[in-house]
């Protein structure tokens, strides 16, 4: 067994019952019920991922509507009000209802398996976190039909995803659009904090015998760092949103500039959340890269201790860079200089990780299955994203680039080029484990190439309108600024990416019923999740694993050259 590009692994039994549910008979109702009341981390992980994929399609559609409106200057495809709702919801959805859930979904699924545990530390808290996040998403989207805004019924939030005060105060945003934003995200933040607590408790307290902290897969370290960041960074957003609601409903004055309140305070609070948030989104992408790249290079990750230090270092430094989103807001030159330096510093550990990945590839025997294709694209794209980030950290130049399409291009390079690409890699890599079937490789390659082409057509080109002075969050633009052709190219790329994602969705569904059987270890990998069946039974492992190195399955498959000899 095994796929074409992978030899069959030694020593792993394959003849056992792989579908523990096969003997269970029951009605569809019972099946649905079991998914609703589940506290199994694997099921909750899959629920998170499916939920996120649905919203990925919704937010993607919002993006395409935006791109149609921007195809011509002075276009009337949507009204300014609708356009403002579209980009607000696109950003809010992608960050809170796609990014966070899908990454927590993978974390939920993988962390216990990889550390040899049977479930997360607090399964019921886990379920609560999922359901409150799900509720939050539905609440946010209910605003389309339930919100009563200034411009009539049906007002989704239209204040941009960072909802700057005092635009969000009652005086400038009457109606309930902003309230939906604040309450929904507050609720989803509670879910995130719950999951973060769970992951930290799991990683520190539920490891199998022999798995010291220096032996947990790098994914474990990264998710622990992510969880710490969530604890420290999502809370400020919760606090700021509570303050906003106090202003809007109890007559408070936190951001009421008429009574001495401060607009800049909201900006600080939001970005104290907002910057670590993007690291919350990107560190799991790094986690996937840390697992996938070694397996497909056939080498251990280069410099595990440095990778741990770099990951944790990124987490800590990222708490001190937030005001690089505020270089134009009027801080003192000293403030601007400080945040320039701290932002540039974060590139050091990030660079270390990039070079370590390069060194992992170096001297390896690289196999180009779909997960690896996405990972390689990620590497190239990550370098560019990081470098445009350095450009933006130069505060004086930032005064030109801030709030322009250059910034939009940069962060989409990170969010799509790095994070979404690694999410796709993770899907192709772990789908066999979750479902017992391989995703179709041919469709995978179509998905990959269309995604690469569409991504570069859109986001490479998108830098230029920014350099030519086009600000962001505008529903139309002047025809004589030289932005028209560039916008048209960007829009075309968006549709190509849309097709690529649809191919993925088809692949996911089709392969579930018709995919090649995967077996426990289709990729010839080395971490503990590959030592159990695909999909794993509810209890994960028949016998509690005991490990002696960072790559327990490598030791098993290569008894002549075990990692444990080096540790």
């Amino acid at each position: 067994m095994g796929t074409d590009s992978m030899p069959a692994p030694q020593g792993i039994e394959t003849g056992l019952d792989r579908t523990p549910a096969a003997s269970r008979t029951g009605t569809y109702l019972e099946l649905i019920h079991s998914w609703i009341v589940t506290v199994d981390h694997k099921r909750l992980g899959i629920l998170y991922i499916c939920y996120a994929l649905v919203f990925l399609l919704v937010a993607g559609a919002e993006a395409l509507l935006i791109r149609i409106q921007l195809f011509y200057p002075d276009n009337h495809f949507v009204s300014p009000y609708t356009y403002n709702r579209l980009f607000t919801m696109h950003g809010t959805t992608m960050v809170f209802l796609v990014g966070m859930p899908i990454l927590f979904g993978f974390g939920n699924y993988l962390v216990p398996l990889m550390i040899g545990a049977r479930d997360m530390a607090f399964p019921r808290l886990n379920a609560f976190s999922f359901w409150i996040s799900a509720f939050a998403g539905l609440l946010l989207y209910y605003s389309f039909i339930g919100g009563v805004g200034l411009y009539g019924t049906g007002s989704a939030p239209d204040v941009a995803w960072f909802a700057y005060a005092p635009l969000t105060e009652r005086a400038f945003s009457p109606g309930h659009a902003v309230d939906y934003w604040a309450v929904a995200i507050l609720a989803s933040g509670i879910g995130s904090i719950g999951t973060a607590i769970n992951i930290i408790a799991t990683v520190f307290c539920m490891r199998c015998r022999g798995m010291t902290l220096s032996r947990i897969p790098l994914l474990g370290w990264l998710y622990a760092t992510v969880s710490f960041l969530v604890l420290v960074a999502v809370s400020p957003l919760t606090a700021a949103q509570a303050m906003l609601l106090i202003d809007r409903y109890l007559g408070g004055h936190f951001f009421d500039t008429q009574m001495g309140g401060s607009a800049i305070l909201w900006a600080h609070f939001f970005w104290i959340f907002g910057h670590p948030e993007v690291y919350v989104l990107v560190l799991p992408a790094f986690a996937f890269a840390n697992e996938i790249i070694p397996v497909f290079s056939r080498k251990a990750i280069f410099g595990y201790p440095a990778m741990v230090a770099a990951s944790v270092g990124i987490g800590f430094i990222s708490l001190g860079v937030w005001a690089h989103h505020m270089f134009t807001i009027g801080m003192t030159s000293f403030g601007n200089a400080f945040f320039t330096l701290s932002t540039m510093l974060v590139s050091i550990p990030t660079g270390i990780k990039t070079f370590n990945w390069l060194a992992t590839l170096w001297g390896g025997k690289i196999r180009f299955a779909t997960p690896m294709l996405f990972s390689i694209a990620f590497l190239f794209q990550w370098v560019i994203a990081g470098l445009t980030g350095i450009m933006l950290s130069v505060s004086a130049w930032n005064w030109q680039l801030h709030n322009s399409y250059f910034v939009v291009a940069h962060f989409h390079y990170v969010l799509v080029g790095a994070i979404v690409f690694m999410i796709f890699a993770a899907i192709y890599y772990w789908y066999p484990k979750m479902t017992g079937r391989m995703l179709d490789e041919r469709l995978g390659k179509w998905h990959f190439w269309l995604m690469v082409i569409g991504f570069h057509v859109t986001f490479d080109v998108m830098h230029f309108p920014g350099l030519l002075g086009m600000p962001r969050q505008i529903f139309t633009y002047e025809p004589d600024r030289g932005w028209t052709l560039l916008n048209q190219i960007v829009s075309v790329g968006g549709f190509i990416q849309g097709i690529a994602v649809l191919i993925l969705v088809y692949n996911l569904v089709h392969s579930y019923f018709r995919g090649v059987e995967a077996g426990p270890d289709p990729w010839d990998a080395w971490t503990l999740e590959w030592s159990t069946t695909s999909p794993p039974p509810a209890y994960n492992f028949v016998v509690d694993p005991v490990v002696a190195s960072r790559r327990p399955l490598w030791d098993l498959k290569h008894p002549e050259d075990p990692d444990s000899a080096f540790e």
Binding site: P80, Y81, N84, D158, Y164, P166, L167, F172, G260, S262, A263, I264, R298, K299, F302, G303, Y304, T328, I329, S333, N336, A337, T340, L345, S347, I348, I352, T354, L358, L361, W362, G363, K365, I366, I376, F380, I384, L387, M391, V394, S395, A396, W397, W399, Q400, N403, S404, V452, H456, L467, L468, G469, P471, R472, I474, E478, R481, G482, D561, F566
Partner: protein
């Protein structure tokens, strides 16, 4: 596989190429086509940073490309390569070298940052106060006692005769941002706070920009026009802006009013007529003269227009200095016809567009805060006729 790499090289080359081109054939808002000292310093810094990051990109992606080509698994080879777990020297070097690069980048940035942001204001600098509104710009010149909207005039500041403009920026409602790329980076306008920026344009002409901080439905059309005038042009502009408009019903004979320098400002200063217009404070209230009959008049003229203007609540938002209109919520209209556009650049300043705007502003700029007053067509025409005289 090579195709991926190829594509990436193309992307990088294109980026650098267009940056170079942007300087050669500037669009009207390219950040590289700099016309002032701050913009120039920012530009030089940006080229330096682009150079360094470009080199890093070429180096790192070159190595990546090499790695994925050279270390491909050969068909049929199922052996594992040697397992390398790390190397202290290599890891140290790729920690130290980036630190050095960061130090250089930071010091260069800090130098430009302090030089631009903390520049000293010379004695002959022009002061401008910029107040952001949803969705228009208010410009006040405290040294000259003038106020205008949406189109900023500043003097040329040549190397021989430097005269920079120092601006104080604040907002009357939500956050905005002043961005004219050719003149400087952007600076935000916040309520309850004053920010500062300066420009010293070294080329005369028109420079365009727009609001760069999302401020509501018409954020996209809160456009900026900065006219850099030669010193003579600027002096003439200031002089014309300082004139007041007459209260037409005061004038004998009911003349079609035009900006009349010697129009009395009745009611001001205890009835004493001000002699030179330059010294007449703007926004001074006047008493209304005898206006019997104007309200029912079907005549489309400046007189009837001003009557409608002053009796249909326009004055609660707008100022026409020298008359009873002293509202501050909307743009100052005293010299409306000296501007090339209306509605902060959303429409050209022509009779047809003015008429359309006065009738229903939401036709041109849906979401702007000027309401449609639902006047009759005749009244709208009368108002337009009056506005056309505000030169």
């Amino acid at each position: 596989m090579r195709v991926i790499i190829f594509r990436r090289w193309i992307a990088a080359a294109a980026l650098l190429l267009v940056c170079a081109c942007a300087n050669a054939a500037p669009s009207s808002t390219s950040i590289f086509s700099n016309k002032t000292t701050p913009a120039h310093e920012l530009n030089d810094l940006s080229i330096f940073v682009l150079g360094i990051t470009g080199l890093i990109y070429v180096g790192v992606s070159g190595l990546l490309l090499y790695a994925i080509v050279k270390f491909r698994a050969r068909k049929g080879d199922t052996t594992e390569p040697p397992q390398v777990f790390g190397s202290m020297q290599i890891e140290l070097s790729w920690t130290i070298i980036p630190i050095l690069i960061i130090v250089i980048l930071f010091l260069t940035t800090a130098r430009v940052l302090f030089s631009v942001q903390d520049a000293q204001k010379p004695a002959n600098a022009l002061d401008v106060v910029v107040v952001g509104h949803q969705f228009w710009w208010e410009f006040r010149y405290p040294q000259y006692n003038i106020a205008t909207a949406n189109e900023l005039h500043v003097p040329l500041s040549s190397k021989a005769a430097p005269r920079p403009t120092f601006m104080k920026l604040t907002s009357a409602d939500v956050m905005h941002s002043f961005w004219v790329p050719q003149l400087n980076g952007k600076t935000d306008l916040l309520p309850n706070r004053v920010n500062e920026m300066w420009i010293d344009p070294q080329q005369a002409g028109l420079f365009v920009g727009q609001c760069a901080q999302f401020c509501g439905p018409e954020h996209a059309r809160m456009l900026l026009r900065v006219y850099v005038d030669t010193p003579e042009q600027f002096k003439a502009w200031v002089a014309s802006q300082q004139k007041t408009q007459p209260e037409l019903s005061e004038l004998p004979g009911g003349a079609q009013g035009s900006a009349n320098e010697t129009a009395p400002n009745v009611g001001n200063q205890g009835g004493v007529v001000q002699a030179a217009t330059n010294k007449v404070p703007p926004n001074s209230p006047t008493t209304r003269g005898n206006v019997a009959g104007l309200g029912e008049s079907q005549e489309i003229s400046a007189r009837t227009g001003q009557y409608v203007f002053e009796h249909e609540a326009c004055i609660s938002c707008h100022t026409v200095s020298g008359t009873v209109a002293t509202g501050r919520y909307g743009p100052d209209l005293t010299h409306l016809m000296s501007r090339e556009t209306i509605a902060s650049g959303a429409a050209p300043n022509t009779k047809d567009k003015l008429l359309e705007w006065v009738g229903d502003p939401n036709q041109i700029k849906p979401g702007c805060l000027m309401p449609a007053m639902h006047l009759s067509d005749r009244q709208n025409e009368q108002i337009t006729a009056y506005l056309l005289t505000l030169k």
